[in-house]
Amino acid sequence: MATRMSPIARPFTRIRSLAALMLPVLAGAGVFASVAQAAPPPGTPAHAPAQNWSFKGPLGHFDLAAVQRGYAVFAGVCASCHSLTQVQFSDLGAMGLTSDQVAALAASWQVAAGRDAEGHLRHRKATPDDMLPRPYADADAARAANRGAVPPDLSRITQVYPGGADRVYALLTGYKPAQTLPLATGPDAAVRRVPARPETGFVNPYAIGHITAMPPPLRDNAVPYADGTQPTAQQEARDVTTFLAWVSIPHADDKRRLGVGVGLYLCFLACLLVILKRRIWSHVTK
């Protein structure tokens, strides 16, 4: 009952036959998927153009200088409305700061420290073990201060925001004057004028419904850069997006570095095992 085919070759032929079986079904599913996909309704956020991020792709890594500049933008601009609830000051050390620098950075923030004898809120300088303070005590306070909108927490924003870092950047730089906004594309596209009054929001093709409650946050020279980079609005948007991407997955670089080392080691080990396996099995007749 000896089989002619080697046991190594056999599973492959079977897998191939299985793949041949599945192909038509999958292709059919694809056709149905494309049929089921309707044209996007008006108000769908525009597709954000892909940017060439330093952290993009499986072998990317964060440009820590940009992350640090982005922190400056966050602290100077975003932090007045947005929180980073899950981040501690000590976490910011991983963007390339020494512990003294982290302590100094934390000391530039004020955190609540209970109430004094008269019941007034007390504040103190933050320490590295403090969480980043929230700009608003709760969602109601945020809503009251922002005409009914709650600024989202930014701890994981590039992960949870559909479109990721590209869309965050596009949103920050994509504000349009009210008159030029087509709400739908196609033959019967009516260009509806959206008033850019503060009561309704600001026109931005990358926001849901092309309206966002966030006023255009960045302008040239909004924050001073310590490393001499020119703080244009574009540059600030790039840097703060890099910072937000880093703060969303702060250990991505560690992971990739580990992956390269472990992967190379395992490949070497696999080679050794293939040799060992061939040797041990060399005298086994089929």
Partner: protein, 440 residues
């Protein structure tokens, strides 16, 4: 070590007779396992443990046990699909170790769970690594498990005398699925919360006892701290239940012997090889190949195993647009939605897993009846049927992903029918046909 491979490819210590040279298995042919060599070795070692102390005896028993397991005979034509068992073992150990370490930081409380997981990922030393290992491990465990089941169906591993082995394996599959679900609720992100909500409502759809069961499952009207406590305890205890059942699974395997791709021909004892060193090195290679894939996914493409929406904290006031389980539940989620009635949907999707339990009794054929005859000769027929089953699973999963709307409703129903047709139509029909032909 028990068996030492020397440079000239001879292996010391006896069991080798079964393998070396031109396939000389004569000396091994009559022995139930390699007891002879074991006894020889024990006799040889007796002077060392002659003091007769209890610890000496225990050590000796342990050594004999290990030796017996290492000398376990397996068919020599096992292909790479048979290394999945070892991969599953490796991932299970990884899940246990990483899970125990993660539990040191995790807090099962609705207001603290999400931030405790964030603390783990951001601040606990190597917490990010432990959590990625655990998350990637869940996906790889389920994927390997599905392949393991597929291999069992493809080669008929469930047939006599291995029905017990298959039953324990199916119970393991169900327990692993429950554990995976419970574990997915723990981080208390949006998908965790709404996943628990959907599961609770599904349980609540059972007539008469549904509402009580839902209350027991959720510990209240809606998912909350009580649910987290339940899921945490369930996740923890089931993990060790699984370890126990895996040991049982392996013990039964050792009692019944392994199947082989060549069916009856591979069961010839003379053509078998001991587990060590032949299959240890093969399994080791399989585990290392899996580890390479694991590393690639975990370190470079983590998006494949993470659900972005679950990085939003649970918000009972905001239902996400897409409530979608992890990929490994998608086929069953699709079947749940393909049936208009909630309760019957639950029956159909639960039954899709439970039906695996009765597979040995649906397919009454044996390897011998398939060897001859016209129908048995149609070797492509079971393969086409199994291909349809796999396609049905994929389609049901895709339908589940698209919320069974529009054309996906039709496809989801077709896939559900295709899935059940394999078990209730093809298996009994084909084995009966083959059996009748063999008798006549």
């Amino acid at each position: 070590m028990l068996f030492i491979v020397k440079h000239d490819n001879t292996v010391l210590c006896g069991v080798l007779d079964a393998v070396s040279g031109g396939g000389k298995g004569e000396r091994m042919a009559g022995t139930p396992s390699c007891l002879e060599s074991t006894c020889q070795d024990q006799a040889h070692e007796e002077p060392d443990t002659a003091d007769g102390s209890a610890s000496g005896r225990t050590a000796q028993t342990a050594r004999a046990f290990v030796r017996d397991y290492m000398a376990f005979l397996l068919p020599r034509d096992l292909n790479s699909l048979w290394t999945i068992g070892a991969m599953l073992m490796a991932v299970l150990v990884l899940m246990l170790l990483s899970g125990l370490t993660l539990a040191l930081t995790y807090t099962p409380d609705a207001s603290l769970a999400f931030s405790s997981v964030e603390t783990l990922e951001r601040r606990v030393p190597f917490g990010w690594l432990l959590r990625s290992l655990h998350m990637t491990g869940a996906t790889f465990f389920m994927a390997a498990l599905y392949l393991h089941v597929f291999r069992g169906l493809w080669y008929g591993s469930y047939r006599a005398p291995r029905q017990g082995l298959w039953s324990v394996g199916t119970v393991l599959l169900i327990l692993v699925m429950v554990t995976a679900f419970a574990g997915y609720v723990l981080p208390w992100g949006q998908m965790s919360y709404w996943g628990a909500d959907v599961a609770g409502k599904a349980v609540g759809a059972i007539p008469l006892v549904g509402n009580t069961l839902e209350g027991v499952f959720l510990g209240g009207e809606s998912p909350g701290t009580a649910t987290l406590h339940r899921m945490f305890v369930l996740h923890f205890t089931l993990a060790f239940t699984i370890v126990g059942l895996v040991l049982l699974h392996v013990a039964i395997l050792h009692r019944r012997g392994s199947t082989s791709p060549s069916g009856a021909a591979g069961q010839d004892r003379a053509r078998m090889l001991p587990f060590h060193p032949y299959f240890t090195v093969k399994d080791g290679l399989g585990v290392v190949v899996l580890a390479i894939l694991f590393t690639l996914v975990m370190c470079f493409w983590p998006g494949l195993v993470t659900e972005a929406a679950n990085y939003r904290p649970a918000n009972p006031l905001h239902t996400p647009a897409d409530i979608e389980p992890e990929w490994y539940f998608l086929p069953f989620y699709g079947m749940l939605q393909a049936v208009p009635s909630k309760f019957f949907g639950l029956l159909v999707s639960g039954g899709a897993v439970a039906i695996l339990l009765v597979v040995p009794w649906l397919d009454r054929g044996t390897a011998a009846t398939f060897a001859a005859g016209r129908w048995g000769g149609l070797r492509w027929l079971p393969r086409v049927a199994l291909g349809v089953l796999v396609c049905s699973c994929v389609l049901a999963g895709l339908a589940g992903r698209h919320h069974v709307q529009g054309v996906w409703l039709l496809l989801g129903r077709l896939a559900t029918v295709g899935y059940y047709l394999y078990f209730l139509g093809f298996l009994p029909f084909y084995s009966r046909l083959v059996g009748r032909e063999a008798r006549s």
